[in-house]
Amino acid sequence: MDITNYVVLAAVLFAIGATTVLLRRNAIVVFMGVELMLNATNLAFVTFARMHGDLTGQVLAFFVMVVAAAEVVVGLAIIVTIFRTRRSASVDDVNLLRG
């Protein structure tokens, strides 16, 4: 298989994730977009690790997974808390920090 296919797939997945983050208002869906972006990068890491024949990219993919897991835990907790207080999961409602 040509390595280009993997890279293009990773780019497409990343673009879908980024678009989701930018366009959707529901916090849970935004979160899913973020996960998609992270996994797209993971795919790119693994692809390039394979290409170069060393394990650094693979190891980094694991790191990203660990960070993503931790991020999900914290992020979901924040979303739940915001939902409890403001009765909404829309990211546009949470704009108290505007200048």
Partner: protein, 644 residues
């Protein structure tokens, strides 16, 4: 001499300890504090006597002793040792300060009897004595400066001593501040002189700076600058033109203060400075000429002011100014004048202190009245004051054989000495000195007869003048005897001049431009004429109780020849203008200029805060856009680089 030199520091130490006890001891010392003050001053006087008699017993060439105490400060090239210089000049001052000072302390015990703050008064008096002795005993300009500031402080505290609970409290406080501020102007001169001196010779102690080598190494412009700065200092301290305005107001202080500080000792510190710095002045003929001119102007100025004052203390203050003018004139004449400057300073210290204390005694008898137009005919009621003040009056007139004759005549003769290349000097300054003597005779006779003479008393009806207590008149007697005899004792045969010779050097004797007997006769004739005129005007004819309007000159003299107005227009107004300009500049230029900076920051902040919308998705869009831009740029740069 060496076995008693250890006593010298105690000259300063004892009054200083006295002041410390009195000022720190508080009310606990109220009951006996004034006697402690007298004792401290008297002990200093005793030490002074011991040192003086021992010095008379030593050969003339060994009479200048620098007694090293400890190293005061050592900074780079500047090493200042704290030490005492004992020589005939400093000992003369020690005797004057401690002896007259002790008499005035004793007088004050009675004079301040009813004052609730008498202890504090004695504390300040002792502080003054200690500071004045530091000034004259110092062996370097730096230590002299310490004493110089110390006497200024004591003077300030004592002029404003009655700054509460009296109708004149506010005026007294203002007078004290005026004296203090005007003295600061002079002090800047002394600091500048020290800086120049250190730059020129690398030292500040008298031993080095006044040696022939050090003075010889100064260029004439430098020496002139140092001389003029020293003169500025002397003008401030000694109330010489143009810094004389404070002395008249300083009479707001209690009368013993006026006698001790503003007549006998502190105000003569400027003359001491001039004589002590003689070698530097001699290297700068221009500065010397300026000293003489300042002296001549002040002696006429003070004398003219003195003729119009109705306040007995202010008339005496004007007289002090004028007499110190004589001393300055002599101090500017070089070695021929130094000895007579100091001699006149000494006799003046006695007769002027006596006159002031006499005035205090009169005020005491007249319920603190100072207006001479309300006195008259007091000789019957205050016989001792009358006689002692009479001796002082004859002394200041310069009638032989009283003190003033011997010293003032010396100055007048010295003023008539020809100066090479400038024949006008002898005539101008000699004439001024003689004219000053005539005016002095007029105003002092006026003062004396307005107070004691006259056929009709002019007091308020409920006044019962009475002679003051023995504690007050005994000092008057001592000072009266001094006024009568001191001049003859020290003047006949040139005893005093010889005594000072180790310090001021031997003066080549020149013949004055007029024969000496002619000068003496002419001086006596004008003095007697001045005195007779005043006698006719104020003893024979009636003195009006209200001051008549008077001529233009009289009105000007009453207002101190407009010196306050002149200071106001020439110094205060421009200074206020500059201050206002600086204030406006600070507010409108500096403040506005710097104010623009935070203003600009604030505008930037206002513009950029629009970016902080609070919407997470717009931040994310910003980041994504930014990354995209960076990616495109990297791609383009890499692509272009690859193309080359």
């Amino acid at each position: 001499m060496n076995d008693v030199i250890g006593l010298a520091p105690w000259l300063v130490g004892l009054p200083l300890i006295g002041a410390a006890i009195l000022l720190l001891g508080g009310k606990a010392t109220d009951r006996w504090g004034h006697w402690l003050g007298v004792a401290a001053s008297a002990a200093s006087a005793v030490i002074g006597f011991i040192l003086m008699f021992r010095m008379i017993g030593t050969p003339a060439e060994e009479r200048s002793i620098d007694h090293h105490l400890w190293t005061w400060l050592s900074a780079g090239g500047l090493d200042v040792d704290l030490g005492i210089r004992l020589d005939p000049l400093s000992l003369t001052f020690v005797m004057l300060v401690t002896f007259v000072g002790t008499l005035i302390h004793v007088y004050s015990v009675a004079y301040m009897d009813h004052d609730p703050h008498r202890r504090r008064f004695f504390g300040y008096l002792n502080l003054f004595v200690a500071a004045m002795l530091t000034l004259v005993l110092a062996d370097s300009y730096l230590l002299l400066f310490v004493g110089w500031e110390g006497v200024g402080l004591a003077s300030y505290l004592l002029i404003g001593f009655w700054d509460t609970g009296r109708p004149s409290a506010r005026e007294n406080a203002v007078a004290a501040k005026k004296a203090f501020v005007m003295n600061r102007i002079g002090d800047m001169g002394l600091i500048a002189a020290m800086a120049l001196l250190f730059a020129g010779t690398g030292a500040l102690d008298f031993g080095t700076t006044l040696s022939d080598d050090a003075v010889g190494s100064l260029s004439e412009p430098t020496a002139t600058a140092i001389g003029l700065c020293l003169l500025l200092a002397a003008c401030g301290k000694s109330a010489q033109f143009p810094l004389q305005a404070w002395l008249g107001d300083a009479m707001a202080g209690p009368t013993p203060v006026s006698a001790l500080i503003h007549a006998a000792t502190m105000v003569t510190a400027g003359v001491y400075l001039m004589v002590r710095s003689g070698p530097i002045l001699e290297a700068a003929p221009t500065a010397q000429l300026v000293v003489v001119i300042v002296g001549a102007v002040t002696l006429l100025f003070g004398a003219v002011v003195g003729t119009a004052k109705d306040d007995i203390k202010k008339a005496l203050a004007a007289s002090t100014m004028s007499q110190i003018g004589y001393m300055m004139l002599a101090a500017g004449l070089g070695p021929a004048g130094y000895a007579f400057a100091i001699f006149h300073l000494l006799t003046h210290g006695f007769f002027k202190a006596g006159l002031f204390l006499g005035a205090g005694s009169v005020m005491h008898a007249m319920d603190d009245q100072t207006d001479m137009r309300r006195f008259g005919g007091l000789s019957r009621f205050l016989p001792i004051t009358w006689i002692t003040m009479g001796l002082g009056w004859l002394a200041i007139l310069g009638i032989p054989p009283f003190s003033g004759f011997w010293s003032k005549d010396g100055i007048i003769e010295a003023a008539f000495m020809p100066v090479e290349g400038q024949p006008w000097r002898a005539w101008v300054f000699g004439t001024v000195a003689v004219l000053g003597a005539a005016i002095t005779a007029f105003y002092m006779t006026r003062l004396f007869f307005m107070t004691f003479g006259g056929r009709r008393p002019r007091w308020a009806e409920n006044q019962h003048p009475h002679e003051s207590s023995p504690l007050m008149w005994w000092p008057l007697v001592f000072l009266g005897v001094g006024s009568a005899a001191l001049g003859a004792v020290l003047g006949i045969g040139g005893t005093f001049v010889t005594w000072l010779e180790p310090v001021v050097g031997h003066a080549e004797h020149h013949e004055p431009v007029l024969p000496v007997p002619v000068i003496i006769t002419a001086t006596l004739v004008v003095v007697v004429l001045g005195a007779l005129l005043a006698f006719r005007m104020y003893a024979v004819s009636l003195v009006p109780e209200e001051a008549p309007r008077g001529s233009v000159l009289t009105r000007a003299a009453r207002r101190d020849l407009y010196q306050d107005a002149a200071n106001e227009t020439l110094v205060l107004k421009p200074a206020h203008g500059v201050a206002r300009l600086v204030q406006v500049g600070d507010r409108d230029v500096v403040d506005r200029g710097w104010g623009a900076l935070p203003q600009a920051v604030s505008w930037f902040g206002a513009a950029f805060r629009k970016a902080q919308s609070g919407y997470v998705r717009s931040y994310a869009a910003g980041m994504a856009g930014g990354v995209l831009v960076i990616a495109v740029v990297v791609w383009l740069v890499a692509g272009l680089g690859g193309a080359q």
